[in-house]
């Protein structure tokens, strides 16, 4: 543009913007094993494409002193490894997002860590990417991490993969070395279902085949990395989503005044037009679209990706978390489903444990009912497993507390994906991709009978309740529960005591003492307690139940049955002195593993309804205190209710 000086700013800008607007956007991730040189590759890409700004380059030259550098005098990895902790350890800890643009395209790169303990960050990067660049060290070939990352790319629906075979300079630019890797990788890609794979031999350090073709590998006639990234045609998710059935997850109810009630959200798939009849997936109520409102004016039609506010003609009940769709093409609605799950937490995934499942803007308690198998990402074999550890991938059945609306992940990455959140730490612990709804969920309706809990309770002239005694072994739970039962029985009440040891003789005799089995143990007992309360009984549950999560689960299973947690707080020294069953002695001798208080933790309740100091005083007084507390809580809760 030699004549730019003669153009005024407006004309020049119009030219620049027109050129910018034609550029598409490619979102890609880079992954590979530790020390494969990902950071160096991206740094080199930016440098060779002349995209590193002058002050950044000056800072880089300064920081590169005392480090292994290229012939240009730079350590390119420093351009992307920004955190102090990363520089200290020489590894990439977290996803770094980089932005660059060439004359042909804009790019957002998620540079993801190779270190195995950070695989979850790689999944994070892959969930929003269209393409993956996987690095392989030419000297090492296809490694465990290469397989893991390739498999995760396939699992997350990435269809286009570039394999940059790096450090070719260290194998004398050998064609044979490259072809061996090519053969091995292509076989693996076919196995895991990666359809579009391009292998490119490169040297990030020397700049071969990065921004331009290298003369040192004349045997390679494919594109250089940058050429390929600039021109590859990837599956356009937005275009694909636009022709799918409408999915509108309601994010926020917009009520500025009494005259307007709109539903704000981003269209996840399909199109919506004024006049369309939309149905609320869960409630199956419907209404017509009166208006599609945006700040820039009302729209007649909106499509996937648009953030809009929809006003309906009728006052139907719609809230955050609901999904609107056309009546003729509704999403699945189910409370049981099969999914692929990637586990992202140090605490292992335990079937039966309750998590919060977040899908779209819907939040619902959920648990894994069955781990069908774990996938060994090295061999792709299905392995039987009871739990999933950090970075584990498995196929699971999931049950949610109420039905959720979704599509299979293969059809829609937005409406088919979810995360699991730990209920105590609030950490994101799992990433799920839904396969399909389980039929049995929709086929089992709740059978209603004419005689209900109130009728049964009335006949017994009492209010059913669950008293959940928790505390260390030997704390005095069963002793107190026994006395409470005797006293209430004498008053003519109908009760039953569920005792940890007794239940393990029958219903739960198949369970051991691993964390997974303990969770299942509590789940079954909580369900039994609930059924007994439905039958009109007052249920006393005497279980160590050491984990807060599971006691919370028991409370949730109880539903609207009054649930009182009785914490028998006895110091472990006293429990150990008493040692009624001789268990502490055995545990101390190493004969019993996972014993609560010795080598397995006890999590004390944070807000139990009743606290008994079992180390002091008389059990009879404790039982009286429990009954008094029950009375008090019933009077406070339901007025005149007496057992």
């Amino acid at each position: 543009m030699a004549d730019t000086a003669s153009l005024d700013a407006h004309e020049l800008l119009d030219r620049i913007l027109a050129a910018e607007d034609r550029k598409g956007l490619l979102r890609f991730i880079t992954c590979g094993s530790v020390d494969d040189g990902k950071s160096t590759l991206i740094g080199r890409l930016l440098y060779d494409a002349e995209l590193v700004l002058e002050d950044h380059l000056a800072a880089l030259a300064n920081e590169s002193v005392n480090r292994a550098v290229t012939q240009d005098g730079f350590d390119f990895s420093l351009l992307v490894d920004g955190l102090q902790a990363e520089r200290e350890q020489g590894i990439t800890i977290d996803v770094a997002y980089r932005f660059f643009a060439t004359a042909k395209r804009k790019f957002i790169v998620a540079d993801t860590p190779g270190h195995e303990q950070y695989t979850r960050n790689m999944v994070t990067g892959a969930s929003n990417a269209d393409l993956a660049v996987i690095l392989i060290d030419a000297r090492k070939g296809v490694l465990t991490q290469t397989r893991r990352h390739s498999y995760i790319c396939a699992l997350l629906g990435i269809r286009d993969v570039v394999v940059a075979v790096n450090k070719m300079d260290l194998v004398d630019y050998s064609e044979a070395a490259f072809r061996d890797i090519e053969e091995e990788f292509e076989a693996f890609a076919a196995e895991i279902g990666l359809p579009n794979v391009q292998l490119i031999p490169v040297s990030a350090l020397m700049g071969d085949n990065i921004a331009s073709s290298s003369s040192r590998m004349a045997w390679y006639d494919g594109p250089a990395l940058l050429d390929f990234l600039e021109t590859v045609i990837v599956d356009d998710e937005r275009e694909r989503a636009a022709v799918q059935p409408l999915r509108f997850p309601v994010q926020w109810v917009n009520r500025p005044d009494l005259d307007f009630r709109g539903f704000s959200g981003t269209i996840a798939a399909g199109t919506v037009t004024v006049g369309d009849t939309l149905m609320v997936t869960r409630s199956r109520t419907a209404s017509r679209v009166r208006r599609i409102a945006t700040f820039d004016g009302d729209l007649h039609r909106a499509q996937a990706g648009d953030a809009v506010t929809i006003e309906l003609a009728d006052e139907i009940d719609v809230s955050r978390g609901d999904m609107l769709a056309h009546e003729t093409a509704l999403p699945a609605l189910a409370d049981q489903l099969q999914a692929h799950l990637v586990w992202m937490a140090e605490d292992e995934m335990i079937p039966g444990r309750s998590y919060i499942l977040e899908i779209g803007h819907d939040r619902v308690p959920a648990s894994v009912t069955e781990l069908k198998h774990r996938v060994d990402v090295n061999t792709l074999e299905r392995a039987a497993a009871k739990t999933l550890a950090l970075n584990g991938v498995g196929v699971v059945n999931i049950a949610t507390d109420r039905p959720i609306a979704f599509d299979p992940y293969a059809e829609n990455r937005t409406t088919g994906s979810f995360i699991l959140v730990d209920r105590i730490s609030n950490a994101t612990v799992g990433a799920g991709m839904i396969d399909f709804a389980l039929r049995r969920a929709t086929n089992i309706a709740w059978q209603s009978f004419d005689i209900d809990r109130a009728a049964r309770a009335g006949q017994k002239r009492q209010s059913p309740a669950i008293l959940w005694f928790t505390g260390l072994s030997g704390s005095g739970k069963s002793t107190i529960a026994n006395l409470v039962e005797k006293r209430l029985y004498a008053e003519g009440k109908h009760l039953y005591v569920l005792d940890g040891d007794n239940v393990r003789h029958g219903l739960n005799r198949d369970l051991g003492f691993t964390d997974a089995d303990r969770v299942e143990n509590i789940r079954r007992v909580a369900e039994v307690a609930r059924l007994m309360a439905e039958a009109g009984l007052i249920v006393l549950v005497s279980f160590i139940s050491p984990f807060r999560r599971e006691r919370r689960m028991a409370r949730e299973i109880a539903g609207d049955v009054p649930f009182l947690e009785v914490y028998v707080d006895t110091p472990i020294e006293i429990c150990e002195q008493r040692d009624p069953k001789g268990l502490y002695a055995k545990a101390r001798a190493g004969a019993i593993a996972n014993f609560t208080g010795i080598d397995s933790p006890y999590e004390a309740p944070e807000k139990a309804e009743i606290i008994i100091h079992g180390g002091i005083g008389d059990p009879e007084d404790h039982a009286a205190a429990v009954i008094e507390a029950i009375d008090r809580s019933f009077r406070a809760g339901t007025g005149t209710n007496r057992y």
Binding site: D55, G82, Q84, Y97, T266
Partner: protein
């Protein structure tokens, strides 16, 4: 003019979704308003997100008392024009103790007047989420930060303990005392911001446009003499130069660039050929090793 190109439309929709999520999922959100171009874009996006309702949370400005005068004028006019609820917070104790960018190192000054002031303001308002205009292309530690970024009850950021952020599924749950910093402009670049300002005709502080202004040369940067408080060193005499700012902060710490770009189109053309980063003039970015990362860990935005 409103016909946005595809990539800006995508960024806009993504940001609106994030801003709405904050309003829907938190009890006491607030939006940081620093008066710069990013804040102006953020404000526009928030107005769009909740239309026809008004922005359902207050805007917070942490005023160090050393902002450019033009910024304060612009801030008050914007609050008036759009009718948003503006909270202004200053670390009064530090001002009374005589803390200025000249009497104290930029590290201490920044810590007291910005980081501490911000933490105090957030605690005082019991805000559980604070929206900010930071972008990932600004600085290396920002490139590593999540869109929804958790803060401990001491408002600290732990880069090693970030929640994985998958798809567009944001985990917004916080425990009592914890809070969230939220960055709806994470995926925008400086160019995107300027193009959006241009196409959406968003008002910006006039300091972004070039004109002759009184400046002195310090540490390789042009520092504008915005008021009489800037102490002159021996032999120093303000001179008039054509300058503008790419990034606005406290005037004694913001370096200007020499430029003749007096209109938005001229700025965009200039941007197109620029070979230095926008934060290059920011003295606080380079005052210690791993500068921004440390500041962020301590609660700076």
């Amino acid at each position: 003019m409103t016909a946005l190109p595809q990539h800006l439309k995508l960024l806009e929709a993504e940001s609106i979704q994030i801003i709405r999520e904050v309003a829907a999922a938190f009890e006491r959100p607030v939006m940081l308003y620093s008066i710069g171009k990013d804040s102006s874009v953020l404000l526009q996006l928030a107005r769009k997100a909740f239309f026809p309702a008004k922005i359902p949370f207050p805007l917070l400005h942490v005023d160090t008392t050393w902002k450019f005068r033009d910024m304060i004028t612009f801030r008050d006019a914007a609050a008036e024009r759009y009718g948003f609820n503006l909270i202004v917070h200053t670390n009064v104790e530090a001002v009374e103790a005589g803390v200025t960018p000249f009497t104290h190192s930029s590290v201490i000054y920044n810590d007291l007047m910005k980081t501490k002031a911000l933490r105090d303001a957030l605690a005082a308002g019991r805000f559980d989420a604070a929206i900010g205009g930071a972008r990932r292309d600004e600085e290396k530690s920002r490139a590593k930060e999540r869109i929804f970024s958790l803060r401990s009850s001491a408002q600290r950021w732990d880069p090693k303990n970030q929640r994985p952020e998958l798809w567009r599924q944001y985990n917004t749950r916080v425990s009592p005392g914890e809070s969230m910093r939220v960055f709806p402009l994470s995926n925008w670049t400086e160019r995107d911001v300027w193009q959006y300002v241009y196409r959406e005709e968003i008002p910006i502080v006039p300091l972004y446009l070039a004109k002759p202004r009184p400046v002195v040369r310090r540490q390789g940067a042009w520092i504008m003499v915005d008021d009489h408080r800037l102490p002159m060193e021996r032999d120093e005499k303000p001179e008039m130069r054509w300058i503008r700012f790419r990034s606005l902060g406290c005037y004694p710490l913001s370096g200007a660039v020499e430029s003749k770009a007096t209109t938005l189109p001229e700025i965009l053309v200039e941007m197109h050929t620029s070979r230095v980063s926008e934060r290059q003039g920011r003295l606080i970015d380079t005052d210690q090793v791993g500068s921004m990362e440390k500041k962020k860990q301590e609660g700076y935005f």
